[in-house]
């Protein structure tokens, strides 16, 4: 009895609350306010204002990912080269901010970048002109990097940690110096972690709406903000749905590419 019917709540729940919503959104994306079918919503994608926002979303997400990779990779690498007790301590230190509420971490920067914030306080202490750092794209990128850095570091650190020390020793035995060991052995083997880190950074970054909202203040809107506005402010659910589908499409494409590099059977968490 249990064998046959135990899975029913799961199946029903998933169909009603996962599949059905997607179908509804798809329906909205291909219809207009009067109920007729149309791809006009998708055509809006090419409207220069929207295209602009899409471009900005992509460039912010790409820049965020690049900076996270640039600063994160060396950290992941170095964390594997310290004493084991230090290493464990650093891992806890790295994970702690991830457990802090995302909004609090973002809000923290309001206090730093704001007109009356820490940076300006320091600047005016030195009699330097105060800056308007808030509500700029740069600020958004800084805060995004801050939020996503641990997500980039952790997978790379884990993969590098798993590299069999024997392989490194074998390379050294065959005459490779430190630089060669890195470029020929460690870096290539760390790539699955890099791919993982990129997908855990780029995908949330491109669909992010909290950071551009709080830090960008409406001046640096990304796709997420646009979608929010359609649904909550402008009641143009059809456009919002179409934009959502475009976002999902972007995600699917990225996932497809990252899947080329991984070969797990699906059914595990990392």
């Amino acid at each position: 009895m249990l064998k046959k019917y135990g899975g029913v709540p799961f199946i029903v729940w998933t169909i009603v609350f996962t599949v059905l919503p997607i179908l509804i959104i798809t329906y909205y994306s291909i219809t207009l306010k009067d109920g007729s079918f149309s791809i006009d919503n998708f055509k809006m994608f090419f409207d220069p204002r929207i295209l602009n926002i899409v471009k900005r979303s992509l460039s912010v997400a790409v820049l965020t990912t690049i900076f996270c990779l640039l600063f994160g990779y060396p950290l992941a690498f170095f964390m594997n080269r310290v004493k084991p007790t230090t290493e464990r301590f650093l891992v806890v230190l790295l994970v702690l901010p991830m457990w802090m509420n995302f909004l609090l971490r973002t809000y923290a920067w309001q206090a730093i970048l704001g007109k009356n914030g820490v940076i300006n306080a320091v600047l005016s202490f030195f009699h330097l002109p105060t800056q308007n750092l808030m509500f700029t794209q740069t600020a958004v990128i800084i805060v995004m990097v801050y939020n996503f850095l641990p997500f980039m570091v952790l997978p790379i650190y884990t993969v590098i940690k798993k590299i069999d020390k024997g392989i490194v020793e074998a390379a050294e035995d065959l005459g490779a110096n430190q630089a060669k060991v890195f470029t020929k052995v460690i870096f290539p083997l760390s790539l699955p972690g890099v791919v993982s880190g990129i997908s855990m950074t780029f995908l949330p970054a491109v669909s992010s709406f909290v950071v551009p909202d709080l830090i960008g203040g409406g001046k640096s809107n990304m796709i997420g903000n646009l979608i929010e506005k359609q649904f909550l402010l402008l009641s143009n659910w059809h456009l919002g749905a179409a934009l959502s589908m475009v976002l999902v499409l972007m995600i699917l494409i990225s996932v497809y590419f990252t899947n080329q590099y991984s070969d797990d059977e699906g059914g595990q968490l990392w």
Binding site: T14, V95, F102, Q110, V248
Partner: protein, 256 residues
């Protein structure tokens, strides 16, 4: 050694970057004045105001109750779901696994608006119940993915052995399968709990009627500008999280 210095310096600088904002948050929670640029004296009054703020306290209550309910319900649904996926033939299995993974791949905002659209379609009022349903929905996949590997790791034929020895399928599940996968069940429940506590985007779209969770409360306050009550809240949360992580790590050390 010369090599040590750049490495240690780099590590220090990056962690400084990661922690400075948090340190400022904590330090200025004790600031008498409102703005971080201006230290006007030591005070606990923001903490007092935090606990007196009804909106925040009710948001906290909502957050905790939803997290507890969502993690329990999603764990139960996910447990039986994982077990029936486990016993399926490969074609329906693959399909169900793919559907299960959809909420994991979907960006938060798409999950949020699509659930909102669903609730409106079903003529449901947005509020506590819809937020709870939304939380359960995004937790279930994580529960399933925590439990499936443990099911796969079970010794081969163990369920058939239980049946062979006289156990009905239900008895086999509770006496043999459940004890085996319990670590996965607990992990899944904990992950669900953590995700639920921390969620913002999906909650934002699926709630209404002034029912807030903590993240939404912080968001509304932050949108209006600086409020050191948030600093006080952050400090308290930081201490709790640090405490939890310390306990977890100390237990791990003890096991070794």
């Amino acid at each position: 050694m010369v090599k040590k210095l750049p490495k240690n310096l780099y590590i220090f600088l990056i962690f400084l970057f990661l922690y400075l904002p948090i340190i400022f948050l904590i330090v200025f929670s004790f600031n008498e004045g409102k703005y971080s640029g201006n230290w006007t004296g030591f005070s606990f009054h923001w903490y007092k105001e935090l606990f007196e703020d009804r909106m925040i306290m009710s948001a906290l209550a909502n957050t905790l109750s939803i997290a507890i309910l969502a993690s329990i319900i999603s764990t139960i649904i996910g447990l039986f779901g994982a077990y029936s996926i486990f016993r399926m033939k490969s074609r329906p299995k693959q399909m169900l696994l793919t559907i299960n993974n959809i909420p994991l791949l979907n960006p938060d905002i798409v999950t949020g608006v699509s659930l909102m659209a669903l609730f409106v379609f079903l003529h449901m009022r947005l509020g506590f119940l819809t937020m709870l349903i939304a939380h359960i929905s995004f937790c279930i996949p994580y529960v399933v993915l925590s439990i499936l590997p443990k099911l796969r790791q079970m010794p081969k034929d163990i369920v058939d052995a239980a049946l062979d020895l006289g156990a009905t399928p239900m008895q086999a599940f509770f006496k043999v399968v459940l004890p085996e996968v319990m670590p996965g069940v607990i992990t899944g429940a904990l992950i669900a709990f953590t995700l639920s506590i921390d969620d913002f985007v999906i909650s934002f779209f699926t709630t209404g009627n002034g029912v807030n969770n903590l993240s939404i409360a912080i968001f509304s306050m932050a949108r209006r500008g600086i409020s050191p009550k948030i600093n006080a809240l952050s400090t308290l949360m930081f201490i709790i999280v640090m405490g939890l992580l310390l306990i977890i790590n100390l237990r791990r050390e003890k096991e070794k």
